[in-house]
Each structure stands twice: as structure tokens, then as C-alpha cells.
């Protein structure tokens, strides 16, 4: 219970005095909304991922406003559609920071888009939340990174799969920095666990024919296939794999499958049995999540999004930011950093989340799940995993001015 002490007394009477003096000014300021930016791809190649993120983003704004807004002001979303196009990303990011003067931005999906907008927000001192699972290594005090990184996911799912299936791994990955860095982590974790990566193949994002690869995999006879394949063309791999009757022969483990709505695009026959690892699944069993999913359903009864880590984490970003604003009584980023770096634990649909002050990455629960009939069933949970990869290269406490994306060398 609150006891009235001297400090609180001065604060409240002081505020009352200020209020009575500046009443007209405050009345106007109260009507003035706090702007928050949402920068998600609503069209173009990544829209199947961006649209659910944006839906959850808007739902979070509505929830904050229904609870009375922040600091007595309503919250207003400023939403642009960068159309999966990097030049639009930089244009809209600048616009948000300079013209709209938003208090915070949620957004960016691929690492390319993040590295386009992160320096812009850093320069204009606009607080930025990146809510995507990614390859790790961003060191920037201005960015709060809540998604999972390979040290949290790949390192868990590899030994799990090796126990289940065996030690010989065949890696297939998308041919850009995510795929390359992730497959390097795969190799490292496989070798740490006494296994062997017998082959790593990279595919440009527009490759849609995988017949030769499927034959090569059969010739190599791995114990399982590790896929870091990204995007719509690469979904063809899972179809053709099932079409060749390989599903019952060699299991597939993926680091990225289920970040978008892939699980409901593939038929159950094509998708059943695929293993993945993320910081959130709809199947996470806690009351916060049950209530969250019910609210999503109520907010979007007709076009209910399939919630994956990337959209749930967008909700986390908004809630963590709102909590910090309430506690700091300010929207200034220095004040918010202090709250978020204090080691607070947040009770969110994905479980308990806190922010590592050294890296501004999330310490969070991660889960291994298996796809059955278009729904992920959780197999194992790893509570409170640290972002150890980024911790290897980044210490914002020692160097708060850092502004870099490290490609962690292995």
C-alpha cells in the first residue's frame, strides 16, 4: 500500500499547484496524443508476416487507450506501409522521426530493413523496438530487440533433434545474411554436440524448383535436414519434399518455419512433423496467453491472424514501452531506458520476459514445437534463455554509444 511520504506529498501538491497555474496549457496537452510509429510491410513479398504484426500493433494501441492512455494522453498510431521496399523504409523512418516526431517505433522485418532504419532512429534519437527473431549481433542502446536469436533457438533445437534422429545434418538455407549466419551457428552447435554437417546449400529467394536438391539429400542420407529457408518460393521445398514421399524418411527441422503463417499454408500432409523453435507459439499454456488470444479473436473476428513469435513480440514491445512510460512518467528515451534496464520482469503471453541491460536483447522462454495438423504442439520449454550470442560482442553498459551490427564470427 502507498504511504504518503514527504517526496510524494511534494510531488502531488507541486503537481496540483502547477496544474492550477498552467491549467489551459495542460488541458491542451492532455488532448495532444502520444504518437507511436508502426513500420510493417503491409504489401509486397513480406505482407503475410507484416499484416498480423500490424493488427496486433493496433490492438495494443487500443488496449492502452481503453485503459486510459498514458500520462493522461491518448496514444495514436502512425502507420506507414514500406511495401517490402528498402528505399520506402528509409523514407518513412525519416518521416516518422522528423516530421511526425513519434515517441517510439515498432517495426522492420528482415535484417536488411532493420539495418536500413536502425541508423536513422539512432541519429534522430527516436526509440526503436525490433520485434523479429533474427541472427543476433545488434549493439545499439537505442534499439530494444525482443525477438529470439540463434543462441536461444538453434542451440536448443539442434541437440533435441540430434537426440531424436541422429548426428548427421544436411543444412539448406536462404542465400542472404540471415541464412549464412544461421547456418554458421548450426554448424557450430552440431559440432559442439558431436555431430557433423555433411553439406550446406544456399538458395536465392526466387528458387522454386528443388528436385535436384531433394535427390542430393537422398544421396547424402543425413539423419535430418535443417532448413533456414525463407519466403514464398522456398515453401515449394516442403511441398516437393512431401511430393517425393520423403516426409516419412528424413525429418525436417527449421529455424524459421512458422515465423509467418507457413504452417497454415502447407497442407497437414506436407507440414506434419516439422520441428521448430521460437520464443512463442499459440500453444503456450498460461492464463495471460489464453486471454491474449481471446482478445485477438475479439478484435479481429473475421480475419483473425495466426499469431507467431513475430506478432506476439510486437505486442510485447508495445506493452513494455507503455509500462516504462507509466513508471518513468515520461516519454523521454533516457528515462525509459532506466526503467527497462532495471531488470524488471514482464508477465507476457509468451511467458516471463526481461531485458538484458548489456545488449538490450530479451531474456525469455523459448520453446521447441512440432507441427501437427497445422498447429504447433509444444514439446519442450527452456525458461529464461539469455541472448548469449549478442552478449559475446556487445556491452552497452561499458559502451553506451555503440551503434553497430556485429556479424559474430564463429
Amino acid at each position: 500500500m502507498t504511504t504518503i511520504n514527504r517526496r510524494l506529498f511534494i510531488k502531488s501538491t507541486g503537481a496540483a499547484a502547477a496544474l492550477s497555474l498552467a491549467a489551459p496549457l495542460v488541458a491542451r496537452a492532455a488532448a495532444d496524443p502520444i504518437k507511436v510509429g508502426g513500420l510493417h510491410d503491409l504489401s509486397g513479398a513480406l505482407d503475410s508476416i507484416g499484416i498480423p504484426m500490424n493488427q496486433v500493433f493496433q490492438m495494443a494501441i487500443k488496449e492502452i487507450n481503453d485503459a486510459g492512455g498514458l500520462l493522461g494522453r491518448p496514444v495514436e498510431g502512425v502507420i506507414y506501409d514500406p511495401q517490402s521496399n528498402m528505399s520506402l523504409y528509409s523514407q518513412y523512418a525519416t518521416q516518422m522521426a522528423v516530421k511526425d516526431r513519434v515517441a517510439v517505433v515498432m517495426g522492420g522485418i528482415t535484417s536488411a530493413s532493420r539495418e536500413t532504419i536502425r541508423p536513422i532512429f539512432h541519429r534522430f534519437k527516436t526509440l526503436y523496438f525490433y520485434n523479429t527473431q533474427y541472427e543476433g549481433g545488434v549493439c545499439d542502446r537505442n534499439e530494444i530487440t525482443l525477438g529470439t536469436t540463434p543462441a536461444q533457438t538453434v542451440r536448443r533445437v539442434i541437440p533435441y533433434a540430434m537426440n531424436l534422429f541422429g548426428k548427421r545434418v544436411y543444412t539448406i538455407a536462404a542465400d542472404y545474411n540471415y541464412g549464412h549466419i544461421t547456418s554458421a551457428w548450426v554448424k557450430r552447435f552440431v559440432e559442439e554436440n558431436g555431430g557433423e554437417v555433411i553439406e550446406t546449400e544456399f538458395f536465392p529467394l526466387d528458387v522454386s524448383q528443388f528436385g535436384s536438391t531433394i535427390s542430393k539429400i537422398q544421396a547424402a542420407k543425413p539423419d535430418f535436414v535443417l532448413s533456414a529457408m525463407v519466403g514464398t518460393s522456398h515453401l515449394g521445398f516442403y511441398r516437393q519434399w512431401a511430393g517425393a514421399g520423403m516426409k516419412s524418411q528424413i525429418p525436417i527441422v527449421s529455424t524459421v518455419f512458422g515465423a509467418g503463417p507457413e504452417q497454415v499454408i502447407l497442407t497437414p500432409e506436407e507440414g506434419n512433423g516439422i520441428l521448430s523453435c521460437f520464443g512463442y507459439y499459440e500453444a503456450v499454456d498460461n492464463p495471460t496467453n489464453t486471454a491474449f488470444l481471446a482478445r485477438v479473436k475479439a478484435a479481429y473476428p473475421d480475419n483473425t491472424p495466426t499469431i507467431s513469435e513475430i506478432s506476439e513480440v510486437t505486442y510485447e514491445g508495445m506493452m513494455i514501452w507503455a509500462d516504462a512510460v507509466r513508471e518513468a512518467g515520461s516519454i523521454e528515451r533516457e528515462a525509459l531506458w532506466e526503467v527497462m534496464e532495471s531488470g524488471k520482469t514482464y508477465d507476457l503471453p509468451a511467458g516471463k520476459v526481461s531485458i538484458d541491460p548489456k545488449t538490450h536483447h530479451a531474456i525469455r522462454d523459448v520453446y521447441i514445437a512440432e507441427l501437427q495438423d497445422q498447429v504447433f504442439q509444444i514439446k519442450e520449454a527452456f525458461p529464461q534463455s539469455q541472448p548469449e550470442d549478442t552478449q559475446m560482442v556487445c556491452d552497452l553498459v561499458a559502451d553506451p554509444e555503440a551503434n553497430k551490427h556485429y556479424e559474430i564470427s564463429l
Binding site: 504489401s43 535436384s212 535427390s215 515449394g236 511441398r239 516437393q240 517425393a244 520423403m246
Partner: protein, 288 residues
């Protein structure tokens, strides 16, 4: 041994894939000298016809073999009447117009179905060759590629309609003088070319899934095959698809898909430097 069979089969499948992708384009380009830049979107339309009608409960085979070619063929006829007809002999203009059409189609389909991948399961499952599993559907693709080429050949060579079509392409003024209504021949040719493209799109749908922007992934390969092949519809398509398909697939097996694509482009580049009119511009000159 079984590995070589699998590799060989994969090469034949790659050739069949190129034949299917480009046959409709070859008919339209080879016979009418119209560059249909919306070719990829015609494929996409065939794919969507199959996916939506299958989801509506239509038998998969009916959807692929009848509905897809029929609906895309009809669409092609409408396009020919409204747009292409006004642009005969103006290659650049028709290229621009069909490019615009392709954007319109991508936008329209996105509006209706949304920009997400939809798909149907690949039929038939797999079969074993030695220690390997291959999709039975590969044989379906190979079979239909052969059937399409054979069908076009029979029509052009042995039917009266084929004779009229060839006459119109060779000398439209003379054909008119002999009582052929050439504008109808053009319309029918464009319709049939579109129908074949629709069939190909339908056959592709179970392998890749469909998305409004899928056309761009295929239109390049289709154009390269047709241009490399030259003017003759059947010999051209078959010879260039065989050459490009086997070389790119062999490279894919040896070095990976990036190099496979690069090899395909390199071969096409060299061939067009040596044979600017395509393979059938120099060799097999009098063939169909």
C-alpha cells in the same frame, strides 16, 4: 546406378518444365510475333483457377486439365479482342501494353485473393527408384510436356485449321485473298496459346503453390527458352528446352542452384551471340 537414373530423370523433368513454361509463349510469339509480357501472369491465372476450384470441391484432374486451360484461354481471347488486336506489327507497343496488363493482373488477383501463398497438395506421392524416392508427379509433368508438343505438331501439320494458321502466319495478305478471315485466326491462335499457358500454370500449381507475384519467377525462363529456340514453335522449343534444361540441371547437381541458373543464362547468351535468330533461325530452318 540408381543415382544416375535419378539424375537423368531430373534432367528430363527440367526440360519438360521449360517446355511447359514456354509452349504457350512460343505459340503466340512464334506464330504471331507478339511478345506477351503478361505470360507469367497467365500462368498465375491458371494456377489460381486450379487452387480455387479445388478448394471449391472440384476434382483436381478436372481443374488442371479442363478448367485451367479453358478459363485462361477465354481470358486470352478477351485480351486479344480488347488489346492485342490493335497492336499487331508493333512489337514495342504490344510489349508495353502486355506489361501493363501483367501489373493489372497482379493487382487484381491480389485484391481478390490477397497476397498470400495458396496451394494444393502434390498428387500421387512418391515412388522408389533403387534407394531413391522420386515424385510420381514428375512423370505427369514430363508426359504433359510431350503431349502438348505432340498436340501442337499434329494440329499444325495434319489439320485444315493448322494449314490455315500456317498460311496466315506466312503471308496474311495472300491468305485474306484466298478467303481466310485472318483476324479470327489470330484470335484463335492467341486463345490456344493462352490455353496452353493456363494448362501449364495448372500443372505447376501443386509443385510450387500460387501467389499473385509468382509470374516473375517463370517469365524469364520462358522468354529465354523461346528466344533461344527461335521462330519454329515445336523444334525451337524442344531444342532450346533440351539444351538449357540439361545444362542447367547438370550444373545444379554439380555446383548448386545458383550456378545452375547462371549456367542457363550463360548458355543462352552464347547461343544468341552465335545464332541471333535462335536455334531454328540457322539449324532446322524449315521445321515447324
Amino acid at each position: 546406378m540408381d543415382y544416375f537414373i535419378v539424375v537423368a530423370l531430373e534432367m528430363v523433368r527440367a526440360v519438360a518444365w521449360l517446355v511447359l513454361l514456354s509452349a504457350g509463349l512460343a505459340i503466340i510469339f512464334g506464330m504471331m510475333r507478339v511478345i506477351n509480357f503478361a505470360h507469367g501472369e497467365f500462368l498465375m491465372l491458371g494456377g489460381y483457377t486450379v487452387v480455387t476450384s479445388t478448394h471449391a470441391g472440384v476434382n483436381e484432374a478436372v481443374a488442371i486439365l479442363i478448367l485451367a486451360p479453358l478459363s485462361v484461354g477465354l481470358f486470352g481471347i478477351i485480351v486479344e479482342r480488347l488489346v492485342i488486336r490493335r497492336l499487331y506489327g508493333r512489337i514495342l507497343d504490344s510489349l508495353l501494353a502486355t506489361w501493363g496488363l501483367s501489373m493489372l493482373m497482379i493487382g487484381g488477383v491480389t485484391l481478390i485473393f490477397g497476397n498470400t501463398v495458396e496451394g494444393i497438395a502434390s498428387p500421387f506421392g512418391g515412388m522408389a527408384i533403387g534407394a531413391y524416392q522420386v515424385p510420381i508427379y514428375n512423370f505427369v509433368l514430363i508426359g504433359f510436356a510431350a503431349l502438348v508438343l505432340f498436340g501442337v505438331w499434329v494440329v499444325l501439320k495434319f489439320t485444315r485449321a493448322g494449314l490455315i494458321a500456317r498460311a496466315t502466319m506466312q503471308n496474311p495478305a495472300m491468305a485474306e485473298a484466298l478467303g481466310v478471315r485472318t483476324s479470327w485466326v489470330y484470335m484463335a491462335t492467341f486463345g490456344i496459346g493462352s490455353g496452353v499457358t493456363g494448362l501449364a500454370g495448372g500443372l505447376i500449381a501443386p509443385v510450387t503453390g500460387v501467389v499473385p507475384t509468382m509470374g516473375v519467377n517463370f517469365v524469364g525462363q520462358a522468354f529465354i527458352t523461346v528466344i533461344t529456340g527461335g521462330a519454329a514453335v515445336i523444334t525451337g522449343t524442344l531444342s532450346s528446352a533440351t539444351l538449357l534444361g540439361t545444362i542447367s540441371q547438370a550444373t545444379t547437381f554439380l555446383a548448386g542452384p545458383v550456378y545452375g541458373d547462371a549456367a542457363l543464362l550463360l548458355v543462352a547468351l552464347v547461343l544468341l551471340r552465335l545464332l541471333p535468330q535462335g536455334i531454328t533461325g540457322r539449324i532446322f530452318k524449315r521445321s515447324l
